[in-house]
């Protein structure tokens, strides 16, 4: 086989892999890195209350997809409740009902919020009807005066809203504002008031309630914004600075007045919102975005698989990377290790145990296994029964480590069960043969070589960036294949051979 053929094949594979990769990365904007900004958040609302042994009705506003977030996989968790959801102009609401509730009750709502970039235009809609607020007596006077004040000091709606927010937020507000604020509590109340004042001024406004998807938290605090209808769209104003625009990580939960949750037939109502980051599926959102832009391409990619299978491929795609590393370690470096791909499998097992614990457990099991093997040697068993005996001992050892680890509270010990036990058995067998025939130093050398290779491979295949790259761009495997084929005809020296032959260079003795 001529080398030209080989180079052409390698070139073809590289070009095919790289062009696909570049197309996906540059044109379709598949993310190259796993991304510091995680795009998927799990939000959860937990409602607890004491039921009063009478019909219970709980209504909860739930978020709906916005221009920045797609709400997916709603889940409602309750015991024995009937559930209905309703959507009106601006809100979604879930209503749980039960004929008779008793004792402590817990209801959950869970959803995934995904960052999306929608291409659709902002919903314009008809101008909303303004409901004139009802201010009575001195409040009416104060409100009217405030409206007149902010009108005088502003040129357009933007500046009017900004001026209103500034006045409401002053550390020492003027008398009118003080009077109006007296009946309101908290940020939400302040925003309610702002909306009413604006309505009085003839500007449609409403309060938006939501949370920021920033850090995973058990107790997310509600953040309130003011939305003003201006120039045929709803525009959001920062409640503190009065500037226009919402941060992208702001998830709108519901709009308008009214509490998040209403309860009849119970007491001691408590509600908590929690936010957690979706660790594994950061990539999913890229695909969701991709689907919005280019539905066909994703149809035949790994992302079309169910999540569970995707997880499997996440690991499987790392095996070729490990194998390639073994090729380099063996043919270019000249490392000697037990079994051709044994270190790759060990490295995969390290994924569960973590490196240090993995190395320790592996060494312990192989070490103890060797002792048993040396003992079995004296019994002069035939090979297959001897291998089976070592295998049984290995499994027993693994079980012991798991139990001991669990008792001591080291959960790492449990994951030892993922070690490929047949591979370990063969390692023990080979190591003992090398030990007897080539001496302990050679056996230890190969053993350390195996663990070293496994650790190195682990470091690479456990790298999030590497995993991400090969999962999002599996075509990179073609490039890897090209590299492997080229290395298959590598006829240069191995690194260790330089060491081995160095005596020749020094000249004849």
């Amino acid at each position: 086989m001529s080398k030209v053929h080989l180079y052409l094949l390698a070139l073809l594979l590289t070009v095919a892999g790289l062009s696909m990769f570049l197309y996906k990365a540059l044109v379709l904007h598949f993310p190259l890195a796993p991304g510091a900004e995680v795009d998927i958040w799990n939000v959860e609302a937990k409602i607890t209350f004491q039921a009063l042994n009478e019909p219970v009705k709980v209504s909860l506003f739930i978020p709906r997809s916005t221009r920045h977030h797609a709400i997916m996989n709603d889940a409602f968790i309750s015991r024995g409740y009937g559930l209905s959801t309703a959507t009106d102009d601006s809100n979604r609401q879930a209503v749980w009902t039960v004929r008779k509730g008793r004792g402590q009750q817990s209801l959950y709502y869970r959803a995934e919020a995904r960052r999306v970039e929608t291409r659709e235009p902002r919903a314009s809609g008809r101008p909303p009807k303004i409901i004139k607020p009802e201010f009575i007596g001195p409040e009416e006077v104060a409100a009217t005066a405030l409206v007149a004040n902010i009108r005088r000091r502003s040129a357009d709606t933007d500046s009017m809203v900004a001026e209103l927010i500034r006045r409401l937020n002053q550390p020492h507000p003027d008398d009118n504002v003080t009077l109006l604020l007296a009946k309101q509590t908290g940020e939400s109340g302040k925003m309610d008031l702002a909306a009413q004042i604006l309505a009085l001024a003839g500007v449609p406004a409403r309060v938006v309630h939501g949370i920021r998807l920033q850090e995973p938290t058990e107790k997310a605090t509600l953040v309130h914004w003011l939305e003003v209808y201006d120039r045929k769209e709803w525009r959001a104003f920062n409640p503190v600075s009065g500037t226009v625009g919402v941060p992208e990580n702001y998830l709108t939960w519901w709009r308008g007045p009214g509490p998040l949750v209403r309860l009849t037939g119970g007491e001691k109502l408590q509600l908590s919102l929690s936010v957690s980051r979706d660790q594994e599926t950061g990539i999913k959102s890229a695909v969701v975005r991709g689907q919005i832009k280019k539905p066909l391409l994703v149809k035949f990619s790994l992302f079309s698989l169910p999540i569970h299978s995707q997880q499997v491929y996440r690991v499987l795609l790392m095996v070729p990377v490990g194998a390639f590393l073994m090729v380099v370690l063996r043919n270019v470096v000249g490392l000697s290790a037990f079994g051709t791909f044994m270190p790759v499998l060990i490295a995969l097992a390290f994924r569960e145990t973590q490196l240090l614990a993995g190395v320790v457990l592996f060494s312990l099991i192989v070490g103890l296994g060797l002792l048993i093997r040396f003992y079995l040697e004296r019994l002069k068993l035939l090979v297959v029964p001897r291998l089976a005996a070592v295998l049984i001992v290995v499994v027993l050892l693994m079980a012991c480590f798991s139990v001991l680890g669990h008792k001591v509270g080291l959960e790492r010990g449990l994951s030892v069960a993922l070690f490929p036990m047949v591979i370990m058995t063969m390692t023990i067998e080979r190591m003992s043969i090398v030990w007897e025939e080539r001496g302990p130093s050679e056996a230890l050398k190969q053993g350390i070589g195996s663990i070293g290779a496994a650790a190195l491979i682990y470091a690479v295949i456990h790298n999030r960036e590497v995993q991400h790259l090969f999962f999002v761009f599996p075509e990179l495997l073609l490039v890897l294949l090209a590299g492997t084929i080229l290395l298959g005809r590598y006829s240069g020296y191995r690194l260790f051979e330089l060491f081995r032959f160095r005596g020749l260079v020094k000249g004849p003795a």
Binding site: L382, Y490, S491, Y493, R494, L498, F501, L504, V505
Partner: protein, 314 residues
């Protein structure tokens, strides 16, 4: 480091990758491997080709035959047990006598019949074979080394390894067992390798565990300058092995028996590279020269003459 690479390349030192990619893979067709991997078949083709080999006493192919082992070995005071598919000298037992109903190993240790049987079982189950396949055990004549080598080796039998490329001897070395190698003549097990001048059959320098040494570590005898007897015959036998096996890149292992003279021990389709250390030079230039010229060399005698002329050390 790149300095080392450049100097090694200039000397024509060959690494494993190059040996595999450019020699064994290209010149050794896979289908011929069984001829050399199975020592029984090697023996057969050698006998057919008229090359002397150690006499075969018997073969154990199945587990049940192990029971008859004692009876079959009864006529022989000394013998060698080896796996048919062994590699690197592993699994070879040399019995040089008997005492108290036990077998005496070459090192002096006594083993019982039971231990010997177990060893044969291990061989049959493939413990020593390439790839772990079930194997056969051979029992054969135990070679008595030529007295020339007596002072040069510690127990065991020294052998002569000749690399033959396309039927032309390219490099040779004498492999001398040491205490460390436990009587075995394989370099990676601690045997000593001495380069041999292809033209004359006189030993050059020696290498032991990556180091260049002047004397045998156990006997203290000077190694260089020893004439290997029957050199011409050895070269001819090695050269003819090419025709017998069909393998282009071949390691031929020969022994010199005190009484029977040169015998072919085994053939190797993937001979090691330490021979370069023992000869203080690379193989590559020699192999390239052979590749250029081998078509012009017709007879065995011509090829031997070519090797002696081209690859002699002065």
């Amino acid at each position: 480091m790149f300095g080392i690479v450049r100097r090694l390349a200039a000397m024509g030192v060959m690494g494993i990758n190059r040996r595999n990619a450019e020699f064994t893979l290209l010149h050794n067709p896979r289908r011929l491997y069984p001829l050399v991997d199975d020592k029984l078949r090697t023996k057969e083709i050698a006998i057919r080709g008229g090359i002397p080999v150690p006499e075969l006493y018997g073969v154990v192919q199945r587990e049940h035959q192990v029971r008859e082992l004692a009876a079959r070995l009864a006529p022989y005071e000394e013998f060698v047990v080896k796996p048919a598919h062994g590699k690197g000298g592993d699994g070879i037992l040399v019995i040089d006598g008997r005492a108290n109903g036990r077998y005496r190993l070459a090192g002096g240790r006594l083993i019982t019949q039971e231990e010997l049987n177990h060893h044969v079982f291990s061989i049959l189950s493939g413990l020593y074979s390439l790839g772990g396949q079930p194997d056969q055990a051979l029992m054969e004549y135990r070679v008595h080394p030529d007295p020339v080598f007596e002072a040069l080796s510690f127990q065991g039998v020294p052998d002569i390894r000749i690399i033959v490329f396309l039927g032309v001897p390219a490099m040779a070395m004498l492999r001398l067992p040491t205490r460390v190698s436990e009587g075995k003549a394989n370099l990676h097990q601690g045997a000593l390798g001495a380069g041999v001048d292809l033209a004359t059959g006189v030993t050059l320098r020696a290498v032991w565990r990556q180091e260049i040494v002047g004397e045998h570590p156990d006997t203290g005898e000077k190694i260089s300058g020893v004439q290997v007897p029957h050199w011409e015959t050895l070269l001819t036998m090695a050269t003819r092995s090419f025709e017998l096996s069909g393998l282009g890149y071949l390691g031929v292992d020969l022994v010199l028996d005190r009484d029977l003279g040169p015998l072919l021990l085994e053939l190797n389709a993937r001979p090691g590279l330490a021979i370069q250390m023992a000869n203080g030079g690379g193989l590559l230039h020699r192999l390239q020269l052979i590749e250029e010229r081998h078509a012009t060399l017709n007879s065995v005698a011509e090829r031997v003459a070519f090797a002696k002329e081209q690859f002699g050390n002065r």
